[in-house]
């Protein structure tokens, strides 16, 4: 089995992935899929300036190479 770690952010965006895991579809393809949750936003500074917000958002695990795939 090939180990893959995927980030899950908004559930609506990852719905097929959740179904695939729970119904053994990844396993049938030889993939040992592990999910990690995207980091919540936490305390948010309200701003009208996009440049004040880090565009990485909650995808820190991908940036740190702790997951190999995510969707947005």
């Amino acid at each position: 089995m090939k180990k893959v770690v995927s980030e899950i952010s908004g559930t609506v965006f990852s719905l097929p992935w959740l179904i695939a895991k729970d119904h053994g579809l990844f396993e049938a393809e030889g993939i040992d899929m592990e999910f990690v949750r995207a980091r919540p936003s936490g305390v948010v500074t309200h701003t009208e300036d996009p440049s004040e917000v880090n565009p990485i958002l909650g995808h820190v695990a991908f940036e740190e190479a702790r997951v190999s795939i995510y969707r947005a």
């Binding site: 090939k2 893959v4 908004g10 559930t11 609506v12 965006f13 719905l15 097929p16 992935w17 959740l18 179904i19 695939a20 119904h23 579809l25 990844f26 049938a28 393809e29 030889g30 993939i31 899929m33 949750r37 919540p40 936003s41 948010v44 500074t45 309200h46 701003t47 009208e48 996009p50 004040e52 917000v53 880090n54 565009p55 958002l57 995808h59 991908f62 190479a65 997951v67 190999s68 795939i69 995510y70 969707r71 947005a72």
Partner: protein
């Protein structure tokens, strides 16, 4: 989306009114794409509020005039009597690291495609994932909760993973540069490498 008692019934009255989004995410981009059809750019007042729950509650509590959210927050808002003043869809993206090999990526996509078929065959059957998500279940319950019957199913659109076309990349790139969301010194071909899909297309043609 606006509160049930909001005077706003279409996007054209939202000029200079605060609208909650998450910058650099879908809610930010789809808000600009929708509102620029109704308002001069300088009157579009988006405010970064973070997660969908934070955006929804900012709208519900009256901190902002409107919020941009996705499911299950649209279903919740509509159940509470909120008004959708405009609605848009956008493409998602699968982002894989450089070290993911082609065979693994293909295997993942085959599994996800089967799940897409299952989902499209009976969407309501799988809505419990949205309702029971532990990150938002308590918040949804606080507002009265949701059942699968509360969702408008045609809004949920799932399709197979396909490469972005060069045309979509170019059009999106120019739109983002126009809004100052990308450095205009870069070019689309610097940002996207479509050699693999092109090679597959060539192989298929052969």
């Amino acid at each position: 989306m606006v509160r049930p008692d909001s005077p706003h019934n279409y996007p054209g009255t939202l000029g200079n009114r605060p609208i909650a989004v998450q910058f650099h995410a879908g809610s930010h981009y789809v808000a600009l794409r929708l509102l620029e059809g109704y308002l001069p750019n300088e009157k579009i007042k988006l405010v970064h509020y973070g997660s969908p729950q934070q955006r929804f509650e900012a709208m519900w509590n009256g901190e902002v005039d409107a919020c941009v959210v996705m499911e299950p927050w649209i279903a919740l808002g509509e159940k509470l009597g909120c008004k959708a003043v405009c609605e848009g869809h956008y493409l998602g993206a699968e982002n894989a690291s450089d070290d993911m090999d082609e065979a693994t990526f293909a295997a993942i996509n085959r599994a996800v495609a089967k799940a897409v078929d299952m989902l499209n065959a009976d969407k309501r059957k799988y809505l419990h994932y949205l309702i029971d998500d532990p990150r938002q279940a308590a918040a949804l319950a606080q507002y009265g909760g949701l059942t699968p019957e509360d969702f408008h199913l045609p809004r949920l659109r799932y399709s197979y993973t396909t490469p972005y076309t060069d045309e979509i990349v170019e059009d999106t790139y120019h739109w983002m540069v126009r809004w100052g969301l990308l450095n205009g010194a870069a070019c689309a071909t610097d940002l996207v490498d479509n050699r693999l899909p092109e090679a597959e297309a060539t192989s298929a043609d052969d």
